[in-house]
């Protein structure tokens, strides 16, 4: 892990892999809750953790360099969100072609995968879900759709994601869910927060 300054009030932790990101994300949230760290935002990325709103980044960087995060939780203690999914996405044949298999095998694979929220972005409540092996990464559409319906379950690169609201999008659609993913009256407002384990189970 390497710490880089970002402007006058932020730090970026460059991690080796997504597991280290999750370990540092959990460690930094814990240290902030216990009062050892002041930061307005702790934002995991694909291989980084951003700390923003840090009053003295130089001193914070020195302290963080001395911390050792515990290994990313293997999952037993953290919540699992089961997302009822209907697998009828129009891009299933395209994903099957990329994976060199057929549609039932794609659905079976998604059903069996234990996902984890690596980070959020793109829109409020949009979670980047890791869990598929890198060799199953799929490209985005060359021309994004102008409107992807809310609740669409989709794949892009090594990630799975669920659109919390209707929006333009270039991910490959594999299914849909009725589970509300972002509600400003809920606490937390996002159903899928960084670190959450996720299973795309069959909708009843």
């Amino acid at each position: 892990m390497r710490i880089r300054p970002v402007g006058t009030h932020a730090l970026l932790l460059d991690c080796d892999d997504p597991e280290q990101v999750e370990a540092w994300r959990a460690e930094l949230w814990h240290r902030r809750a216990s009062g050892e760290l002041t930061a307005t935002e702790i934002v995991p990325g694909a291989v980084t953790v951003l700390l923003d709103g840090v009053p003295d980044p130089e001193a914070a960087a020195a302290r963080i360099a001395g911390w050792r995060p515990r290994a990313a939780d293997s999952g037993a203690a953290t919540e699992e969100v089961r997302v009822p999914t209907v697998y009828d996405g129009e891009d299933l044949p395209r994903v099957a072609a990329h994976w060199d298999t057929d549609v039932p095998a794609v659905v079976d694979r998604l059903r069996r995968t234990e996902f984890r929220v690596a980070f959020c972005g793109f829109a409020p409540g949009f979670a980047y879900l890791t869990g598929l092996p890198p060799e199953l990464a799929v490209p985005r559409l060359a021309t994004p759709r102008t409107r992807v319906p809310a609740g669409s379950v989709a794949l892009a690169g090594p990630y799975a994601g669920i659109y919390p609201a209707a929006s333009p999008g270039g991910w490959l659609l594999v299914g849909r869910t009725d589970l509300p993913l972002f509600d400003v009256r809920a606490d937390p407002p996002a159903r899928l927060t960084p670190g959450t384990r996720v299973r795309l189970v069959d909708a009843p």
């Binding site: 970002v6 402007g7 006058t8 935002e41 990325g45 980084t48 972005g121 409020p124 409540g125 400003v184």
Partner: protein
């Protein structure tokens, strides 16, 4: 209550924004010049976190159903108050000075004479429903109230007390040239060693595509040393992101929380960009100058 008689090109409700939710993909949003809105709030006796209006370029016309104190800050504009009944009496007002209006008064804010944005505070504050602790309109995510439309009615809160006795506010005039202090960014290594000196050695022009998300600039392209895509990572206010065409974009209040283009530098204070008209000249300087 405020009745919106003419909303203008883009008038939004803004306060100091909704920090603390970036890990869920929620932008900070809030007034593009938070200090200007805080000043306007102080001039009418409000808490600094009260919500006001951010008025863009073309002005707006508002009617107040009850007696209020209002104050405008930011870009200079012609301000006219019409006393009830309609057309009975007109009186000019000023940006930077509090105005006491009787119930039924109409406030006409003209187009910005220089700069882009004017902030309006009203005694009691605008009390549209708060979303995640803020009443700000976020033009990227759609959180908060939609931009004002003609005929909208906005609720007002109960004033804390009378406005302070202020006759005159001293504010810095808008600069003719926008000088921004920039520090090397976290992905400087993705650019050639010349990129930062190109950024600091050339004048850039504000593009018409600029908005509350970011100020897009046109000028010397910043050459990349590393090809390929950067894995998505968290972004800060003032990040200078460089898409494949090499033209820099400075992120403002409604910026996305994560992004995949490398950040060559970070601007210390982006508030001058709130007043940057398309075609305005921007220069970047290191923190030592």
């Amino acid at each position: 209550m405020i009745e919106v008689l003419r909303a203008g090109a883009l008038t939004t409700v803004q306060d100091q924004g909704r920090p603390g939710w970036a890990h869920l993909g929620v932008p900070r949003s809030g007034a593009l010049d938070p200090a200007a809105l805080r000043l306007a709030n102080r001039l009418v006796g409000n808490d600094e976190h009260a919500a006001g209006l951010e008025i863009t370029m073309t002005g707006c016309v508002l009617r107040f159903t009850r007696a209020v104190a209002v104050a405008l800050t930011g870009a200079p504009a012609e301000v006219v108050v019409e006393w009830p009944p309609p057309g009975a009496r007109r009186r000019p007002g000023d940006v930077g000075r509090p105005l006491a209006l009787p119930a039924g008064a109409v406030l006409r804010v003209g187009p910005a004479r220089a700069g882009v944005r004017t902030w309006l505070a009203v005694s009691g504050g605008i009390t549209v429903e708060a979303v995640l602790g803020s009443r700000s309109t976020d033009t990227l995510s759609g959180l908060g109230p939609p931009p004002l439309r003609d005929g909208d009615r906005l609720p007002l809160g109960i004033p804390d007390g009378p406005p302070p006795p202020v006759d005159l506010t001293v504010t810095e005039p808008l600069p003719d040239e926008l000088r921004l202090t920039v520090r090397p960014g976290p992905r400087q290594g993705w650019f050639t060693p010349q990129a930062l000196s190109l950024l600091c050695g050339n004048a850039y022009t504000v593009s018409p595509d600029s908005n509350r998300v970011g100020a897009r600039l046109a000028g010397a392209a910043l050459p990349r040393a590393v090809a390929g895509e950067l894995p998505s990572e968290g972004l800060v206010l003032g990040a200078v992101q460089v898409p494949p065409d090499g033209q820099p974009l400075v992120f403002l209040a409604d910026h996305p929380t994560t992004g995949g283009y490398p950040v060559v530098g970070v601007v210390d204070d982006v508030t001058p960009l709130a007043q940057a008209r398309p075609g305005a000249t921007v220069t970047f300087h290191g923190p030592q100058r």
